[in-house]
């Protein structure tokens, strides 16, 4: 069988939107293989997330047990493998989030599956499926073939539109056989970055700062709030401890594709650009007219951000 299993991601019963992008990718695979798509939700008290996913027209297996309360790969991987077997899945798909990247390779070993990370597109003719994924910080796109009987990949959420609501879904509980006493991993705590702003990966507008802010994200945060935007950062700003690590955009941080990305005091290193070049419109504000960021910006302003950003806020208010 060439069925496709989507591993969902949820937190306290709320489905993560990235899962709906993985569902879209899974349907693209199924359309080519002629198989069916089903999904797996893991957690404890995750019923609402399973219902929400089912409302997108997909049969959902719900593995709900206290041992799955925290996203521990050691506990979740055997459940994924079991669900994949039960679903007759020859493809296992998830979103390329920190949860997905931690879990998928571990589950894949149990299934003898090869894995492709951060898939951008599905290509190939006829029965052959090739996966396009970035290498070298996105400087090169590779077209890869997976040669194992069961295959797995994670999906870059910005590259696949979230699946729309549709009828025909269902939720079926699944027994969980993982023994908590057998686990060598224990969850201690999660320090969440709380914010009133939209999630970086979902925001329509992102205002990002780098080393050029010298640690003062005040003006950028104010502009972000005026625009209902999320705030992002370069690695330099995060490494310095100025802003939470969760704000990093780039090869090793978040990948974003907003309608508007404002980069202020960011030089435009290839590793940063890897995370934001999918934005529709890029604005760069930088003191240095030769900064590489201007090579990819749609609109470049050579200026001191501490003058330009407040001035832009004034102009916005004037309408």
């Amino acid at each position: 069988m060439s069925n496709v299993l989507v591993i969902a991601e949820q937190s306290r019963g709320t489905l993560r939107k990235a899962t709906l992008s993985a569902l879209t990718a899974a349907r693209e695979v199924a359309r080519r293989t002629g198989g069916g798509v089903s999904a797996l939700v893991l957690g404890s008290g995750a019923g609402a997330a399973a219902e929400e996913l089912a409302a997108h027209g997909v049969p959902v297996r719900l593995a709900d047990a206290p041992v799955l309360a925290h996203p521990l790969a050691e506990a979740h991987a055997p459940v994924v493998a079991e669900a994949a077997r039960a679903a007759g899945a020859s493809w296992v798909v998830t979103a390329a989030t920190s949860y997905g990247k931690d879990l998928l390779p571990r589950a894949a070993v149990a299934l003898g599956a090869a894995v492709a990370t951060e898939v951008l597109a599905i290509a190939g003719d006829g029965g052959e499926i090739l996966l396009r994924r970035p290498m070298w910080a996105g400087n090169v796109i590779a077209e890869v073939e997976l040669r194992t009987a069961v295959k797995a990949f994670s999906v870059r959420p910005t590259e696949f539109a979230p699946a729309a609501r549709a009828p025909g879904g269902s939720v079926t509980p699944m027994a969980v056989a993982v023994d908590a006493a057998s686990l060598g991993t224990r969850f201690v705590e999660l320090q969440e970055v709380k914010s009133e702003r939209p999630e970086l990966t979902d925001a329509r507008v992102v205002v990002a700062g780098g080393r050029g802010t010298k640690g003062d994200f005040g003006p950028l945060s104010a502009l972000a709030d005026d625009l209902g935007a999320a705030v992002g950062a370069s690695r330099a700003a995060v490494d310095a401890g100025w802003v939470p690590n969760d704000w990093q955009v780039g090869q090793t941080g978040k990948v974003v594709a907003p309608d508007l990305y404002v980069a202020a005091g960011i030089s435009g290193a290839i590793q940063h650009v890897a995370g934001m070049k999918g934005a529709k419109v890029i604005v760069a504000i930088n003191k240095d007219a030769d900064a590489p960021i201007f090579q990819i910006a749609d609109y470049g302003l050579v200026a001191d951000l501490f003058q330009a950003v407040p001035a832009l806020r004034e102009r916005l208010k004037a309408g």
């Binding site: 790969a73 931690d102 910006a297 330009a308």
Partner: protein, 267 residues
Amino acid sequence: MPLKLLVTVKRVEDPESRIKAKPDGSGIVTDGVNYKMNPFDEIAVEEALRLKEKHGGEVVVASLGGAAAMTELRAALAMGADRGLLVRHDGALDPGIVSALLQALVAAERPDLVMLGKQAIDDDQNQAGQMLAARLGWPQATFASKKESLESEAEQKKQPGVAVAADGKRALVVREVDGGVETLEVALPAVVTVDLRLNKPRFASLPGIMKAKKKEVREIPAASLGVELAPSVVVRRLLDPPRRQAGVKVADVAELWTRLHAEAKVL
């Protein structure tokens, strides 16, 4: 308790090099490209050295690849690692094979902790550590980081971010995850993959470089480890990504606003 630490070191293209696909898509243009240790692996080596400095023990570094990878192994030895293993294989590998070869090294070396980079910056697969943990049936803590910033006092004092208990049976690992910072406790032996903000790796000193030349590096033919060496992730061709064109420079904030409002219609 002294710790035995096994750290992987991959030879990759320097992240400062300009990488592009060959016109026929068969590989990348390597003219003018420099090679170095994967930056994440430098952080793994640094962390292992700090753990050894605190707990005592041994740091063994391993690389899989051609003879050229000896350079990166020597670089890790110059930082202070004790000895090296070079698993010789000249063909393509994939994360499944890498993890199977590492499993064989673990069986021979019996480390308390295996430390890898979270991803190699060439293939960016982010899989080898998780697959190794799965094969061994060991706990995994991926994307290890720490709560203190890289400018903090703890970092200046070269404290390890991974907190191994005095009895050597458990470790606390802080991880960078979407939405925050998570802490896990893993029973040892375990696999840890490291993220960028775990530490600032040291530079090798001149005496370190001299000493490294005399340290033992054992070569092991990959074919001798009983692992199937045919890749199951096969790169069929490489393509150039769509390139963005440079846009316009605007004169001032007023023009920027007008362009965004009237032309791009995003404000």
